[in-house]
């Protein structure tokens, strides 16, 4: 065994340059958040995330004081919007665009080598970029869900306020926001890893999309390998499956939140560890894209 290897093995927890890593991570975060949040090309993510909020806004304007609707009805519509739009496609496509761009975008702009040439661990780069994407996605989608919630109950006036502050509304809002953040974490980790494996991560993304959409017809054991399965369990209002899907849906045993949340976190961490391992062997080829 070489002396360097012995030295590496003997390195204690205190010898790790935490301070340097933290400052490098902060620098990556600063650059990446600026890139993902404020660039002109990021407009699409705002359009995608805030489209339902605009719809709820129009609904609030056309139905002041709940003239044409009821709180029960709007609660169901909000839950439907959250599960059909946000969980199944909105956050999915948002994360696909954001997290794929983190590395593939650098390759398109021929700028990844600047990061690779800097004296910094590549795992740190993965962590920094992931955190930046996660913060951006969570911020945008959570704000959008919050706006939807405000518009959905705001136009009921005192009844709506009573539902939120003296009823189950506030708990539902917290749960919606929490599930949104978890969805960004789970899908983000998957797409970051896919972008490091495939030249065109969208085609495997289709497979993930189909799996996440139709996992309910799979045996209950297989359903546990889906991000949406855990997220649906954590959603505050349940929407029963309808149409053709209802015929084939296999009702899996519900998972407790104490298992669902660590399960999703473990899946994300495992995917990130894999991404960190993968990037150590990555060689840049700007010809590919």
């Amino acid at each position: 065994m070489s002396t360097a290897a012995v030295a590496r093995a003997g390195k204690s927890w205190n010898d790790v340059p935490w301070q340097l890593w933290a400052s490098q991570l902060a620098a990556i975060l600063r650059i990446e958040i600026k890139k993902t949040l404020w660039m002109r090309r990021s407009i699409w993510i705002y359009l995608l995330a805030f489209a339902p909020a605009v719809m709820f806004g129009i609904h609030a304007l056309t139905s002041p004081m709940g003239r044409n609707c009821s709180i029960e009805e709007d609660t169901r519509v909000l839950a439907y919007t959250f599960q059909i739009f946000y969980l199944r496609v909105g956050i999915f496509f948002g994360c696909m665009g954001l997290f794929t761009w983190l590395f593939r975008g650098e390759i398109v702009e021929k700028s990844l080598h600047y990061y690779f040439l800097s004296p910094m661990r590549r795992e740190l780069l993965v962590a920094g970029k992931f955190l930046a994407g996660f913060i951006t996605a969570s911020l945008v989608f959570a704000s959008s869900v919050l706006l939807c919630f405000i518009f959905a109950y705001g136009h009921f006036g005192p009844t709506g306020r009573a539902f939120v502050f003296n009823g189950p509304g506030f708990g539902q809002l917290t749960a919606y926001l929490f599930v949104t953040i978890l969805a960004c974490l789970g899908f983000g980790a998957i797409f970051l890893a896919l972008s490091l494996i495939f030249k065109n991560p969208i085609i495997p993304g289709v497979v993930v999309l189909l799996w996440e959409s139709f996992h309910a017809v799979a045996p209950s054991l297989l359903q546990k390998f889906s991000v949406t399965f855990y997220l649906k369990q954590l959603s505050p209002v349940t929407i029963p499956p309808d149409g053709l899907m209802a015929l084939f849906t296999v009702v899996a045993e519900p998972v407790s939140p104490w298992l669902a949340v660590p399960g999703l976190l473990a899946l994300s961490v495992a995917t990130l560890v894999f991404a960190g391992y993968r990037i150590r062997r990555t060689e840049i080829s700007y010809l590919a894209d």
């Binding site: 995608l48 489209a51 339902p52 719809m55 709820f56 129009i58 609904h59 056309t62 044409n68 519509v77 439907y80 919007t81 059909i84 739009f85 199944r88 496609v89 909105g90 496509f93 696909m96 665009g97 794929t100 593939r104 398109v108 065109n200 991560p201 969208i202 085609i203 993304g205 289709v206 999309l209 309808d242 149409g243 053709l244 894209d289």
Partner: protein, 296 residues
């Protein structure tokens, strides 16, 4: 010989006829696509529904085959190969063809735009329309081979095995197969080309195509639920195609999110699809126009 000593002269060889020049682009486009082995494998996989359908038609008409397989269904089964059967087959093939188009379509044109090499094509005796037609023909040829051509073969096989004037009674179905598939091919090819010239990055173009065919339907459901209207379905292009196909195949359509009679009318479905095609044409025309580039 040194390069400067060479003398260049005009090409005097045989010229490709003007009407078929676009096929050069198609030929090279197809060849580039099939350089990828996974793509070739997937294209072969797209013929699986055709083979399964062929086997099914044969089995339902062959008493011997049914006896060998231990099936005793009498004369009931041939009737299952009807307009609904062909409709379902085409829906499945169209779904597989969508992935084919999303995979191969954007890559054909994004490189030309990203590397500013369109002018190299257009400096040859080929017009913008021919350039576009050559590129679209690649997808059209591929999708035709996996959709309406196999479906027509199955239709003819069914007619041959059934006999008794089945062909003449159901000739309208052949028209529906061709018209329905051509409409779908036109929509999907134009969308594929338009998003490719717009974003100029293959991965983003593929993602955008997926978004149009997966995200917009979800958004349309949300619009319908929040605003209590069915007009949101107009941006659900797969559903619009379903409405048109259901009409062409004379199938009663029951959509799970439509309450009874409130489905979008047929004219609106046609208008929605034609508007999408027109928007794609406009975008392609705009991006393919010659423009002066000033370099600082």
């Amino acid at each position: 010989m040194a390069v400067y000593k060479r003398t260049y002269k005009a090409y005097h060889g045989a010229l490709t006829p003007a009407w078929s020049r676009f096929t050069v682009l198609t030929r090279y486009g197809l060849s580039t696509l099939f350089d990828s082995r996974p793509f070739t494998a997937y294209t072969v996989l797209c013929f699986l529904p055709f083979l399964v359908g062929l086997a099914y038609i044969y089995i339902v008409h062959s008493v011997a085959a049914q006896a060998i397989m231990g099936m005793n269904v009498g004369n009931a089964m041939p009737g299952t190969v009807n307009n609904d059967w062909f409709h379902r087959l085409l829906v499945f093939q169209a779904g597989m063809g969508f992935i084919l188009a999303a995979w191969g379509g954007p890559g054909m044109i994004t490189k030309d735009f990203a590397n500013h090499s369109v002018q190299l094509y257009l400096s040859r005796p080929i017009s913008r329309t021919e350039y576009l037609f050559g590129k679209i023909s690649v997808l059209a040829a591929l999708l035709s081979c996996t959709t309406w051509i196999p479906a027509l073969i199955l239709f003819l096989v069914k007619a041959e095995l059934q006999g008794h004037g089945w062909l003449w009674d159901n000739l309208w179905m052949a028209g529906s197969i061709v018209l329905g598939c051509l409409l779908w091919i036109a929509v999907i090819s134009l969308v594929s080309m338009a998003v490719a010239v717009w974003v100029k990055w293959r991965i983003a173009a593929t993602a955008l195509m997926l978004a149009i065919f997966f995200l917009l339907p979800a958004l349309s459901l949300v619009i319908g639920a929040i605003l209590r209207t069915n007009w949101g379905f107009l941006i659900n292009f797969p559903f619009m195609i379903t409405i048109v196909w259901a009409h062409l195949f004379k199938i009663t359509l029951i959509h799970r999110h439509a309450s009874g009679f409130d489905v979008v009318p047929l004219w609106a479905a046609w208008a929605s699809l034609l508007s999408l095609c027109a928007a794609c044409f406009w975008l392609l025309d705009r991006k393919l126009q010659a423009r002066e580039v000033e370099r600082a």
